[in-house]
């Protein structure tokens, strides 16, 4: 048996959780998080915040909840259930940062929390900034150079 044949064989005998069930869980939990967010957003707008300010405050509130849920140990439990449902919303981003600060604080606040805070979230910020820089460059060339 060579490596390819073995990989194929492993795929055959490895059970997977039902994709449809996983998608349903992700749909429901992800949907609920977005609905709660919409509720907060509508409330903020009814309080006469501008659309942009409301979006910013919404982010802060969602992130705050995610940090608290992470600290209490609920977010990882919910994440195991919901998969993409808790990974995709901005709360998943906050969870990746909060779980790192809580886990690594024992290694010190500079080298533990400080260095490892971006263990999971770092790539998101890096690639967000770099890709938008490139896209912005193309935008600049198309609109102002050509």
């Amino acid at each position: 048996m060579n490596n390819q044949e073995y990989a194929k064989y492993v795929k055959e005998v490895t059970p997977a959780k039902s994709l449809w069930l996983n998608m349903l869980k992700a749909f429901v939990i992800g949907g609920i998080i977005c609905t709660i967010a919409q509720f907060i957003l509508n409330y903020l707008i009814s309080m006469d915040f501008s659309k942009e300010d409301a979006a910013g405050i919404l982010n802060i509130i969602l992130i705050g909840f995610a940090v608290i849920f992470t600290g209490l140990g609920y977010y990882s439990k919910l994440g195991n259930f919901a998969g993409a449902g808790t990974l995709v919303p901005i709360t998943g981003f906050a969870n990746s940062i909060a779980s790192a600060t809580i886990e690594y604080k024992k290694e010190g606040y500079v080298f533990g929390v400080g260095c490892k805070i971006f263990t999971i979230a770092g790539p998101v910020i890096l690639y967000g900034i770099v890709s938008s820089w490139f896209a912005g460059l193309i935008y600049y060339i198309v609109n102002y150079v050509i």
Binding site: G30, S131, Y139, Y140
Partner: protein
């Protein structure tokens, strides 16, 4: 109606991403990066703004919305400041999300202890 739209669109985005988690060997970190970059690409063609207009938080809360915010910020900054805007727009637009996550998580680390999974 707002709520139904947010629920369905937000849920659908999550359900589609779940296919990638289950059917590929991509780890969560790569998935998150992929979503943000996807948001940047969609945003640079102005394709995501209509989705946000339709679904509100259902489209802005998923990380694709974060990518869209980034490119929107860069474009606005380029319009105002020219080339320098390429270097200011992204962080300005994402300032609230990143700062809130860093600051609140830092505070959280003083309050919470590492916990065993059950």
């Amino acid at each position: 109606m707002d709520y139904l739209k947010a629920f369905i669109v937000g849920g659908l985005i999550c359900a589609i991403v779940q296919i990638f988690i289950d059917k590929t060997k991509l780890l969560p970190g790569r998935i998150m990066v992929g979503l943000v970059v996807l948001g940047v690409i969609l945003g640079s063609f102005n394709l995501y703004e209509p989705v946000i207009d339709f679904a509100g938080a259902g489209a802005s809360v998923p990380l694709i919305g974060f990518g869209n915010t980034l490119i929107k910020g860069v474009k606005e900054a380029v319009d105002e400041e020219g080339l320098l805007g390429l270097f200011t727009g992204g962080f300005k637009a994402s300032a609230i999300g990143i700062s809130a996550a860093l600051i609140l998580s830092y505070i959280g680390s003083f309050i919470f202890k590492p916990k065993m999974k059950k």
